[in-house]
C-alpha cells in the first residue's frame, strides 16, 4: 500500500492494532479497579467521602508511577556507580561479571556529586570537572551561561508580553485575530518550531541571512559561530515565550476594574502613574507565579537547544540541562548514569533554592496563604 514518507496503510493498521487493544485494556482495567475500590471503601471499610477518594485514585496512582517513582529512582541512581562497565551489576538481564562489592552507597554519591564540580586525582582536587568534552564545559561556566540565558529570556518575555497585552487590551479592530496570531508560537509543537528556526538560521539558505543581505548587511554564521548561535537560540526562545506572558497578563489586565483608572484620572494621574500605581500592583498576583514558572521553564529549556544546536558549536550553547542531556545520552555521552543522576539533582536544588527565595521575598503566594 502506497503511503506518505514511508507511512504506509499497513503500518497505520498495524499500529492501531496494537494501540486500540491497549487503550481498551487500560480503560477496562481502570473501570474494574475503580469499581472494586469504591466497593471496598464504601461498603467494606465504610469510609466517608469514598467516592471522592475513588475518583482521585487514578490521578494519585499516575503521579506516583510517573513522577514520584522516577524521582526516587533518580536519587537512587545518584547513590550508584552505574556506568558502561558496571552495567551488568545493575541490569537484571545483562550478562557479565559484576566487579562491585556493593551496588549503592554513600561513597558512590560523594564521588558522583564531587565529579559534577571538581576533577579529583589521587584524592586531590586538581581543578573544575569537565562535564562534557571541552575544557570550558565546567560547572561555573555552564551555570553562568544558564543564568545569563534565563535572565535575558525572562526580561524579554516579560517586557514583550506586557507590551503586547497592553496593546491587545485596547479597543482595536480585529483584536481577536491579532491575539490568535500572537498565540501561534506557543501553540506550535516545540520540535517543529526548533527545526523550522534551525533552517531559517542557516548561513546560506536561511531566511534571516537573506533578510540581512537584502538590507545590505553581511551574512552571519548563525549556527557556526558560538556567540551567534547563542544569540539565535535566545532569540527563538524569546519569540516562543512572549505569548505566554501576553495571555497571562491580558487576563490580569481585563480583571482590573475601569473604576480605578477613572478615579485616578479624575485625581490628575497621567498614563505613567496609572500604569505604575494601578496596573503593576494589580498585575502582581499573576506576575509572580508567571515569572516563577518562566524562570523554571527557561532554566530547564532542553528541546530547543538540543534540536537547534545540539549544544554546539564547541559545546558553547549548552546550558546546564542540555549539558546534562549530552553527558547522559547525547553527543558527549559518558555512559555514567550515576554521575548524570547526581548532576540532575544539583540542577533541581538550584531551582528549588531559587523558587523558595523568590516566592518568599516576592510574597507571591501570600494571597493564597492569607485566605
Amino acid at each position: 500500500m502506497q503511503g506518505i514518507g514511508g507511512l504506509t496503510g499497513d503500518i497505520v493498521l498495524n499500529t492501531l492494532g496494537q494501540i486500540i487493544p491497549l487503550i481498551i485494556g487500560v480503560v477496562v482495567g481502570v473501570v474494574v479497579l475503580e469499581f472494586l475500590l469504591y466497593n471496598l471503601l464504601a461498603k467494606t471499610l465504610k469510609v466517608k467521602n469514598a467516592l471522592a477518594y475513588t475518583l482521585l485514585a487514578p490521578a494519585a496512582i499516575a503521579i506516583l508511577a510517573f513522577m514520584l517513582y522516577p524521582l526516587f529512582f533518580n536519587v537512587l541512581l545518584a547513590f550508584s556507580d552505574l556506568k558502561r562497565t558496571t552495567f551488568p551489576c545493575y541490569s537484571p538481564i545483562a550478562r557479565g561479571e559484576c566487579q562491585l562489592d556493593h551496588l549503592y552507597g554513600l561513597d558512590y554519591a560523594v564521588k558522583n556529586f564531587s565529579d559534577v564540580f571538581f576533577r579529583v586525582r589521587d584524592g586531590e582536587i586538581i581543578g573544575w570537572g569537565r562535564l562534557l568534552r571541552t575544557a570550558d564545559s565546567t560547572f561555573p561556566v555552564l551555570l553562568g551561561r544558564t543564568v545569563l540565558w534565563t535572565v535575558i529570556n525572562v526580561i524579554f518575555h516579560f517586557s514583550g508580553g506586557l507590551a503586547l497585552a497592553l496593546i491587545m487590551n485596547q479597543k482595536i479592530r480585529f483584536r481577536g485575530v491579532y491575539r490568535a496570531l500572537i498565540v501561534i508560537p506557543w501553540a506550535l509543537p516545540g520540535v517543529i518550531t526548533a527545526l523550522t528556526w534551525k533552517q531559517e538560521f542557516h548561513a546560506e539558505y536561511g531566511f534571516v541571512n537573506t533578510l540581512l543581505q537584502g538590507i545590505g548587511l553581511q551574512p552571519v554564521g548563525w549556527l557556526r559561530d558560538a556567540t551567534a548561535a547563542f544569540v539565535a537560540v535566545t532569540f527563538v526562545n524569546i519569540w516562543l515565550g512572549i505569548p505566554f506572558y501576553m495571555v497571562m497578563l491580558l487576563g490580569g489586565l481585563q480583571s482590573i476594574s475601569a473604576e480605578y483608572y477613572e478615579a485616578a484620572q479624575m485625581d490628575g494621574a497621567g498614563a505613567w502613574h496609572r500604569f505604575r500605581f494601578i496596573t503593576m500592583p494589580l498585575l502582581r498576583p499573576i506576575l509572580i507565579p508567571a515569572v516563577t514558572l518562566d524562570v523554571i521553564w527557561t532554566f530547564n529549556k532542553l528541546d530547543l537547544i538540543v534540536i537547534m544546536t545540539g549544544g554546539g558549536p564547541e559545546e558553547k550553547t549548552n546550558i546546564l540541562v542540555s549539558a546534562l542531556y549530552n553527558a547522559a545520552f547525547g553527543t558527549a555521552a559518558t555512559q555514567q548514569l550515576g554521575f548524570a543522576a547526581a548532576f540532575s539533582i544539583v540542577i533541581f536544588f538550584i531551582l528549588f533554592l531559587f523558587a523558595i527565595v523568590w516566592i518568599t521575598t516576592s510574597g507571591g503566594l501570600k494571597e493564597i496563604y492569607d485566605r
Binding site: I20, T85, D225, G312
Partner: protein, 409 residues
C-alpha cells in the same frame, strides 16, 4: 444496587474485549528488530523476511522499528536496565557493538553461526575474541558521489575537485560545486587516515594529536576558508538535500544512501542514470583519504531464546549466506555482500561495482568501546577548526586531553 448487575455485565464484557485485544497485541509470533538502516533498506529486508518465511514455512512475522543511532543505543541500554523490552534483533553499524558488549546486552554468536562464512569484515564485530554481530553487508564506507549531469568525470585529486567545483559553479548559477557534512568526525577521519594517522598507536593507546591529525585539521580548514570550496555551513541534511535536488554537484556520503539516490521519487535530480560514485580524491601527498569500513551487523540481545532464537538464527543465516538471498539483498539495498562466495557483477549493477572500488580504499573500523571517546572529543574541536576559532595544533592537543579523560572515566 439497582444497576449493579448491569454494571458488572458491562465490566465483564469490556474485560473480555480488553483481554482479547491485549492477547492480539502480544502476538508471540512476531520477531522485533530495531534497525538503524533507514526506511528504504528496511523495506528490502522486510521483503526478504517474507521470502524466508515462505521458504521455510515459518509462522513468525517481522516487525522492524527504525531508530536513529543514538536513540537505538540509549533505548537498548534503558531496556537492559529495566530488564524487559529488548528486541529480538538489532541491525546497525559496528561502532555501538563494543558499548553493548561492555554492558552485557548482546549474546556471543560464535556458537550459533558458522563464522567462517564471513571472512571479509567479521573483525569489526569482535570484542575480546568473541563475535557479537553477523554482517549483512560489507561497507558503511564514505565515498565521492557526483551528479553526472553536472560533472562528466569524477576528479582524481583534491586539486581537480576544487577546479571542477568552481567550474560547475561558474557554469550553473545557484548550484554548489561541492558539499559535505563539515563538522561530523566520521567525515573527517578519512583525511586523518590519508595523512598517515589513526586513532590508536601500535600499543593500542589513543593518539589524537599526531602530525597527521594536525595536517588533516589544516586541510579541511583550508578547503573552507582558503579554497572556499564548501558551503560556510553544512551538515548531513544539507549535503543530502542539496544533492537530491541537483543543487550541489559533488558530495561525500556513505553506501547506505545509494539506494535513496537511485530512486527518482526521493532524488529527482539523480536516479540511476545521473548518480556517479568514485573513491575519495587523492590528497597532495598522493594518498587517498581512507574511510572507515565495516558494514551493518545483526546482533542478538540477551534474553532471546527458544523458538524465537531458532527463528532468528535461521533467518539471519539464510539472509547472509544463501547466495540467492545475499544477491537479492545486496542488489536491493545497493550494498556489498559480506561473504566471499557472492561477488558483485559490474554488469548487473555498475554502481555497486563502483562502491566496491571505493570500499577497497578504506580501513577497518574497530569495535573498541573507547572509540566513542574519540568521536566525542574530536567533534567540538572540529567545530572550532571549521569556525576558524581554534588552530589545528590546539584542536589536536585538546582532543587528546579530552579523550584521555574520557577513557579514564
Amino acid at each position: 444496587m439497582k444497576y449493579g448487575k448491569f454494571v458488572l455485565a458491562v465490566v465483564a464484557v469490556l474485560l473480555a474485549v480488553g483481554s482479547f485485544g491485549l492477547t492480539l497485541a502480544q502476538d508471540g509470533g512476531t520477531l522485533v528488530m530495531w534497525s538503524q538502516d533507514g526506511d528504504v533498506n528496511d523495506a528490502v529486508l522486510a521483503e526478504q523476511f517474507k521470502v524466508w518465511a515462505e521458504t521455510t514455512g515459518s509462522a513468525f512475522t517481522l516487525e522492524i522499528v527504525n531508530k536513529e543511532t543514538e536513540v537505538l543505543r540509549n533505548d537498548l541500554q534503558t531496556a537492559g536496565l529495566a530488564g524487559s523490552g529488548l528486541p529480538d534483533m538489532v541491525l546497525g553499524p559496528n561502532d555501538a557493538i563494543g558499548v553493548f558488549v561492555d554492558s552485557g546486552l548482546l549474546l556471543p554468536l560464535d556458537d550459533l553461526f558458522d563464522m567462517s562464512m564471513y571472512p571479509i569484515n567479521l573483525g569489526a564485530a569482535q570484542v575480546a575474541g568473541a563475535t557479537y554481530g553477523v554482517p549483512t553487508n560489507a561497507g558503511n564506507h564514505l565515498m565521492l558521489m557526483y551528479n553526472k549531469s553536472l560533472v562528466e568525470k569524477a576528479p582524481d585529486t583534491w586539486e581537480e575537485l576544487i577546479a571542477t567545483a568552481k567550474s560547475v559553479e561558474e557554469a550553473n548559477p545557484g548550484v554548489r560545486g561541492f558539499a559535505y557534512n563539515l563538522n561530523e568526525p566520521f567525515w573527517f577521519l578519512p583525511f586523518v587516515h590519508g595523512f598517515g594517522g589513526g586513532t590508536y598507536d601500535a600499543d593500542g593507546n589513543m593518539v589524537l594529536d599526531s602530525q597527521a591529525w594536525i595536517d588533516a585539521y589544516q586541510f579541511v580548514q583550508d578547503l573552507k576558508f582558503k579554497e572556499q570550496v564548501v558551503p560556510s555551513e553544512c551538515d548531513y541534511a544539507c549535503a543530502d538535500g542539496l544533492f537530491k535536488e541537483g543543487s550541489v554537484a559533488m558530495i561525500i556520503n556513505g553506501d547506505w544512501a545509494i539506494n535513496d539516490y537511485k530512486n527518482l521519487e526521493t532524488s529527482p535530480a539523480l536516479g540511476p542514470d545521473n548518480l556517479g560514485l568514485a573513491p575519495w580524491p587523492k590528497l597532495p601527498n598522493g594518498e587517498r583519504p581512507k574511510p572507515f569500513t565495516a558494514g551493518k551487523f545483526i546482533s542478538i540481545p540477551v534474553g532471546v531464546e527458544g523458538e524465537k532464537l531458532d527463528a532468528v538464527i535461521s533467518f539471519v543465516t539464510w539472509l547472509t549466506t544463501d547466495p540467492e538471498a545475499v544477491t537479492a539483498y545486496a542488489l536491493g539495498t545497493s550494498r556489498l555482500p559480506a561473504i566471499a562466495e557472492v561477488t558483485v557483477d559490474p554488469a548487473a549493477d555498475p554502481l555497486l561495482a563502483a562502491s566496491n572500488e571505493a570500499l577497497l580504499t578504506g580501513v577497518g573500523m574497530p569495535a573498541d568501546p573507547t572509540l566513542r571517546c574519540m568521536w566525542d572529543s574530536v567533534r567540538p574541536q572540529l567545530e572550532g577548526v571549521m569556525s576558524n576559532n581554534v588552530t589545528p595544533a590546539d584542536a589536536a592537543m585538546e582532543a587528546q586531553i579530552s579523550a584521555e579523560e574520557c577513557i579514564e572515566g
